[in-house]
């Protein structure tokens, strides 16, 4: 469906976008995550022909779209949803019907269908400026789907939504995309959004795709420190494999020894990655299958959303996330000594 080769765009001093090879299958959701200024939106603008690259090939629907003379024909096959809904001062119905009107289509059956699909039929006579932020985003998405596009570009479409509304909208969007087998390129900074929608995730930074793969692989096996940092692996420690027995590696990381299941060999220098949610905090050690038990000192306790983040020292700095109830039940305080426990399979190693 989409094949990209040697795509290059330079904004001197700002961004240098380069994608050597990328393929997206039909009906798949390709999600790009990355920090601000990574080049995610620029990439979408190139695909939508709003930005001309310095060189490269983008093959969509069998044509190199960069050589197209008539951009309009291509643009009418795709849809683009921006982070702001950009609705017009019209009724919801007229906003959704606009793409059909622009194409000279006079049959508006699709408008009613799309209104139902996005559960906004009851708003059809309301003026767009009177809607809530969440409703506006729903209308913007419905407007993008009314023409039944073959490709949809989503540039952080849930940016300003509250978590509960966002969840319901993402679920509806996933249903529409999957049931209509629409190919989508979705750009986001939020990992949960990416995990919910993506078939494939690419992590982008400074104009380069650092890693791509299925969501599980990206989030459990980052292959660089930058990716690990971005996907929320908060403990990344330099270490060396000092011994290996079968597939169990013994890693010396600063003043700590860890047991890790890994393919790497003795003597390899690695980065040890531990996700905060994989660390269990206990006052005592009970026999368990977990291979790593560390006596740790609590350096800091900070609230983080509905949870708490513990900054521990156990020969190296370790971040753990615990619930509010756990902090209360275990009576956790700064300077307390506790046990940090995690499994050998919960640790991911990146070869340096």
């Amino acid at each position: 469906m989409i094949k990209i080769k040697d795509l290059k765009l330079d904004f001197p001093g700002r961004l240098s976008l380069f994608i050597d090879k990328l393929a997206i299958g039909k009906g798949k959701v390709f999600t790009i995550i990355g920090p601000n200024g990574a080049g995610k939106s620029t990439f979408l603008n190139i695909i939508a022909l709003f930005q001309e690259p310095d060189k490269g090939v983008i093959e969509i629907f069998g044509d190199n779209i960069l050589n197209l003379r008539d951009k309009l024909i291509f643009r009418r096959k795709i849809s683009f949803v921006f982070s702001r809904p950009y609705l017009f001062d019209e009724t919801v119905y007229n906003n959704i019907a606009l793409p059909l009107r622009l194409r000279g289509i006079r049959d508006f059956k699709a408008v009613d269908e799309t209104l139902d699909l996005f559960r906004i039929g009851h708003l059809n006579a309301n003026k767009a400026p009177t809607l809530s932020q969440g409703e506006m985003h729903r209308v913007a998405l419905a407007r993008a789907f009314v023409t039944k596009p073959e490709l949809i570009l989503l540039d952080e479409p849930f940016l300003s939504l509250d978590p509960i509304y966002k969840e319901s909208l993402i679920n509806d969007l996933r249903g529409v995309i999957k049931s209509n087998e629409i190919t989508a390129i979705f750009v986001s900074q939020v990992q949960t959004e990416a995990l919910t929608l993506a078939d494939t995730i690419a992590v982008m930074k400074a104009g380069r795709i650092l890693q791509q793969g299925n969501p599980q692989d990206i989030f459990t096996m980052p292959d660089s420190k930058e990716v690990a940092d971005f996907i929320g692996v908060e403990t990344v420690v330099e270490g060396t494999i000092v011994k290996k027995e079968d597939n169990l590696c013994f890693v010396k990381a600063k003043d700590g020894f860890l047991e890790v299941v890994s393919i790497y060999n003795e003597g390899d220098r690695v980065l040890v990655c531990i996700r905060p949610e994989d660390v269990v905090i206990a006052r005592h050690i009970d026999p368990s299958s977990a291979r790593n038990h560390f006596k740790a000192k609590i350096i800091d306790i900070k609230p983080w959303g509905l949870e708490f983040k513990l900054n521990l020292y156990c020969g190296f700095n370790l971040i753990a996330s615990v619930t509010k109830q756990s902090v209360k039940n275990l009576d956790l305080k700064i300077e307390d000594e506790v046990f940090a426990i995690f499994k050998a399979t919960a640790i991911h190693l990146i070869k340096r």
Binding site: A48, F50, F82, D89
Partner: protein, 273 residues
């Protein structure tokens, strides 16, 4: 008290006889300037009073002048909008070489001296000029041409600024919905209607009050090309201040009514938003 006809004590000021009742010589004691000012204020108020009376008893001639003024200015504004609005939008939206120079030229055009416009239009429309065959000199058509040249850069420049201040992503959203360039400009203009109305108000204001170009191109011919501004100038020169004031008041009132209508449209849009 002001002393009259006391030439020995006069410091300045002899107002020639005119249609006012306040005629004759006025002078001022060197040490009593306030008396002089008050006397002359009375003289202006008298003229104003007569002007108001004339205004309420509009005669056929004044009505014809009013009709011609309105007709010429509204038609010229309409043509200037038809040219300036799309032109300003295209300059703002399209990328092309020397764009900044073109914008600088438009901005310069916003301050075109009307007499210079008048001069060039006269040169072009005169019998030996390149457009002499049109025979538009000393006709309302020629006046409309001059006013279009004055108003178009103003409407172009203000439309250009309005479109440029519009969020580029919104324009991209319009294109992404599948709009052609023409469709996208129409949608865009609809979205920035408040700023566009301000551009129209400015364009109309610049030509309804303009005198230099219409005087040169129209020639101020009674019954044919005499408009409110040129008639006001003429009556002032002739010393018929009451008629000049009446015409000035009509001009002010007309300008106010047209702008009031445009402002009502503009502000009703604000309320809706």
């Amino acid at each position: 008290m002001v002393k009259r006809n006391s030439e020995n004590n006069c410091s300045f000021g002899i107002i020639k006889e005119n249609s006012f009742e306040t005629r004759g010589r006025f002078c001022i004691f060197q040490n009593r300037p306030l008396d002089f000012i008050l006397k002359n204020m009375i003289y202006i108020f008298e003229g104003f009073k007569k002007g108001v009376v004339l205004l309420f008893n509009l005669n056929g001639e004044v009505l014809a002048i009013l009709k011609l003024s309105l007709g010429i200015s509204i038609f010229a504004t309409f043509i200037a909008v038809c040219i300036g609005l799309p032109l300003g939008s295209i300059i703002a939206l399209k990328k092309f070489p020397f764009k900044k120079i073109v914008i600088a030229l438009v901005n310069t055009g916003m301050g075109l001296p009307p007499v210079v416009v008048g001069l060039f239009v006269v040169l072009f429309l005169s019998r030996n000029g390149p457009l002499g065959f049109l025979q538009w000199l000393y006709t309302p058509k020629g006046m409309i041409l001059a006013q279009v040249i004055i108003a178009t850069p103003i409407i172009t420049g203000l439309s250009l600024a309005a479109v440029q201040s519009f969020e580029p992503r919104f324009y991209r959203q319009i294109l992404a919905l599948g709009a052609t360039t023409r469709q996208s400009i129409c949608i865009l203009i609809k979205e920035i209607k408040l700023s566009i109305l301000a551009a129209i108000i400015a364009g109309f204001g610049s030509i309804i009050s303009e005198v230099g170009a219409v005087m040169m191109v129209g020639g101020n011919i009674k019954g044919q090309t005499r408009v409110l501004t040129t008639a006001t100038v003429l009556e002032t020169h002739m010393g018929n201040f009451d008629i000049a004031i009446a015409l000035g008041l009509v001009l002010l009132l007309m300008s106010f009514i047209v702008n009031l209508a445009l402002t009502f449209i503009q502000q009703s849009k604000v309320k809706q938003e």
